[in-house]
Structures are given as structure tokens and as C-alpha cells.
């Protein structure tokens, strides 16, 4: 059982298309927003807390680790929305969420 609390930092903003900085970041962030919208998860306080809760559960689940390198861990999960599902590949360093890749559907 993991006793640390997951730290998701500003990654919810990243998921919902609100990245700042280089164009690569903005494009990548917008593509995640589109992927979430495709499964019916629009940027609302409810969706944000739903995804935050999903990420928390992902962190506490010890059975979803797909690869590990030192304290860098990749975890796979399935995010359900009102209109479909997305595969979520999250990278963690200890309890800190580093990045997320949303897989499923064109442009995902």
C-alpha cells in the first residue's frame, strides 16, 4: 500500500488544453483536450475532480504498473467518459505525476 499522497501538480491544466510555453506543448495539450472531449469529458469542475480522482486511484493501485526504471514508473489505466473510453498511460516519479498520454481514437 502506498502511503504517500499523489502530487498531480498542474497536470490537469495540461490535460485540459491549458499548457503554456512552446508551441509543441500547446499542441500536445490541445490534443489531450480533444481526446477528453471525444469521450464526453469537457472542462468542468466535475470533470476535473473526476480525473483527479481517477489519477489518485491509479497511483494507489499497485497492479497497473506497465514498466519501471528506478523510481520512474509507468502505469496503464482506462478512463471512462459518458461517450467512451481512453487508455491512460501515466508516468510517475515517486508520488509525482510527470506526464500522461491518452490513447484511443484518431488524433488522440
Amino acid at each position: 500500500m502506498n502511503h504517500l499522497k499523489p502530487d498531480i501538480g498542474r497536470k490537469l491544466d495540461y490535460l485540459f488544453g491549458k499548457a503554456t510555453g512552446r508551441q509543441h506543448n500547446l499542441d500536445r495539450s490541445l490534443s489531450m483536450l480533444k481526446a477528453l472531449e471525444r469521450i464526453g469529458l469537457y472542462e468542468t469542475p466535475t470533470s476535473r475532480s473526476y480525473i483527479a480522482e481517477h489519477l489518485e486511484q491509479v497511483f494507489y493501485n499497485q497492479e497497473n504498473i506497465s514498466s519501471q526504471n528506478g523510481n520512474w514508473v509507468k502505469r496503464d489505466s482506462l478512463l471512462a467518459g459518458p461517450r467512451g473510453f481512453l487508455k491512460v498511460e501515466s508516468t510517475w516519479k515517486g508520488n509525482k505525476l510527470i506526464t500522461i498520454v491518452l490513447k484511443g481514437g484518431k488524433g488522440g
Binding site: Y14, R22, N25, R28, L30, M32, T91, I98, T99, G108
Partner: protein, 197 residues
């Protein structure tokens, strides 16, 4: 429009279907390579057609199956080595134009973002989503640094300044590999932070 490359010239096309790309690739009689075929989610397809020699009739084709995620593949021309460096998905592949073979392939820990060539030291920096690595001309990994999603970077004199999404910004001296973190300073060679093979 064509891109001149030594005695060759290059044409880049994109396709929404793999079949469409494969049809054009099959007509490249000077050689064919397909990259990114192991990608889980193949979304867009790119074809680099190299018109070989002054005549330009013989074609060498390189197809790329791209996962995208909002990011497009990058092509770095290395005419002095007759090589093309391609960055896409989570890999970097060097392809020889004369021998039409893969020279090296490097897997990244996150999605490829960009190349940056340095003159002094003569390195190629490969930026991916959560870090960067330095390569020499032969594809040998010299050092790497990973921290968090890179928001921005800039080079001022010998220093590469990087801003991360959820970590302190750093200033990496490219000559001696020392790192200055915001509010702290330490002089640790990057190789000691993350050893490379």
C-alpha cells in the same frame, strides 16, 4: 516544393491512411523503409521521398507511422554525413541516404519534441516531453536529463535554460555540464545524475 540535399532533393508528403502511404512507397524503386510500425496508435502517415542523384528519377522512400498526440515528426538534415535524423513518436532514427539503411535508433522515455544542433560542443540535443539527451555525430548518447514536462527552453551563451511545468527551472552549462537550480546551486556532472549506456 523540394528541399535540396547535396546532389539529391527531398519531398515530404502526409497521408491520413497507411494504405495511401504504402501505395506511394511501393513505387520507390531506389529503396524503402517504414518507421514507427510498432506504434500502438498510428494516426498520421508521412512519406519522405528522396530523389536520388542529379537525375532525380530514382526514389528512396521513408514512411513514418506517427502516433501524433498533437506532435509532428521532425527531420534534421545532416548532409555532411549523408544522413537524415528523424524524430517521431518516442524515438529518433538516423537513416543513411547513400547506403539507404538505418544507422542508429534511440528510444526515448517520452514523446519526441525537437532537435537542436550545437556547434560548441558539437552535439545534437534531442528534446522529448520530459527531458533531453545529447548525442554525438555517430548517435552515441553522451548524457541525459529528465525532470518534468518541459514548458520552454532557451540558450544564452553556454547555458541551456529550461523551464518545467512542475519543477524548478534549471540552467545547464553545456561546456562543463554543471546545473544551476532556482534557489540552489550545485556542480554535479549530468552523467552522475543519470548514467547512460
Amino acid at each position: 516544393m523540394y528541399l535540396s540535399y547535396g546532389k539529391h532533393y527531398i519531398e515530404i508528403q502526409s497521408y491520413e491512411s497507411k494504405t495511401e502511404m504504402m501505395n506511394v512507397l511501393s513505387k520507390c524503386e531506389g529503396g524503402r523503409l517504414i518507421l514507427g510500425e510498432s506504434a500502438e496508435q498510428q494516426t498520421f502517415f508521412y512519406l519522405i521521398k528522396i530523389h536520388l542523384g542529379w537525375n532525380g528519377k530514382l526514389l528512396f522512400g521513408i514512411g513514418i507511422c506517427s502516433e501524433e498526440y498533437g506532435l509532428k515528426p521532425h527531420l534534421l538534415l545532416k548532409p555532411q554525413d549523408s544522413e537524415l535524423l528523424l524524430g517521431f513518436n518516442n524515438e529518433v532514427v538516423a537513416v543513411g541516404v547513400e547506403d539507404r539503411k538505418i544507422h542508429f535508433r534511440i528510444l526515448l522515455d517520452s514523446l519526441f519534441h525537437a532537435f537542436l544542433t550545437l556547434e560548441k560542443p558539437k552535439h545534437i540535443l534531442v528534446f522529448h516531453e520530459i527531458g533531453l539527451l545529447a548525442l554525438d555525430n555517430t548517435g552515441q548518447k553522451l548524457w541525459e536529463y529528465e525532470e518534468d514536462v518541459i514548458e520552454d527552453f532557451d540558450i544564452i551563451e553556454d547555458c541551456l535554460n529550461i523551464k518545467f511545468m512542475d519543477a524548478s527551472p534549471i540552467s545547464l552549462n553545456l561546456q562543463n555540464l554543471s546545473i544551476h537550480k532556482l534557489h540552489e546551486f550545485f556542480n554535479t556532472p549530468v552523467q552522475k545524475i543519470r548514467a547512460v549506456g
